[in-house]
């Protein structure tokens, strides 16, 4: 299996705080996707990172792809209750036909 480890597994913070979640692998991967899943719904893509060292910003969310392309991080600035959800990272197989998901970080932002 193409193991992706995410940490922390659970995170509960106050509105306005900053946080970082991580996605790590022992293997190099060509690209990585971050999804957010709200309760009772399917995941929705936030971003795809492709190049080692790449940084992408989506409003208050900053995504970074490690230089060695074995890890990625998601940083949220000034978290809001609307950021509550399960954050999943995913990588594709070498053929691109299959996807492997991490176990996710469950984030709760308390008003």
């Amino acid at each position: 299996t193409q193991l992706l480890e995410q940490s922390p597994q659970f995170l509960s913070i106050q509105e306005g705080e900053n946080l970082t979640v991580y996605c790590n692998s022992s293997s190099v991967f060509s690209s990585l996707q971050w999804y957010r899943q709200e309760p009772g719904e399917g995941p929705v893509l936030l971003v795809t990172v492709v190049t080692g060292g790449e940084v992408k910003k989506l409003k208050r969310l900053t995504f970074q792809f490690g230089d060695a392309r074995k890890d990625s991080s998601l940083h949220i600035t000034a978290a809001q209750p609307g950021d509550t959800g399960l954050y999943l990272c995913a990588r594709s197989s070498n053929t691109g036909n299959q996807f492997y998901f991490g176990t996710g970080t469950s984030l709760t932002v308390i008003p």
């Binding site: 299996t1 995410q6 719904e41 795809t48 999943l88 594709s92 036909n97 176990t103």
Partner: protein, 115 residues
Amino acid sequence: NAGVTQTPKFRILKIGQSMTLQCAQDMNHNYMYWYRQDPGMGLKLIYYSVGAGITDKGEVPNGYNVSRSTTEDFPLRLELAAPSQTSVYFCASSYSASVFSNEQFFGPGTRLTVL
């Protein structure tokens, strides 16, 4: 566009019963996927299809079957339901396997309980 639709939303099965989970997409996507998500876990790929008439196994295919007779539809069949198949099932689709167009669009899920 409706995107990816799944039916039913909820189902309770008895051990040994069979059922088909329906999935359809109206985005003309070539790739379709079936995942299961257990509590506190990420998604595990059951089966996938790269186009009509072509299917292949994912990480956890045992106990399931699929077919892809059209581009739009990708049903998942459970032949002999077991308690271990209690899970939330998600169908997804994407345009291609290219890193620049492989965003997966997910359906709302089917919550299945096997008792």
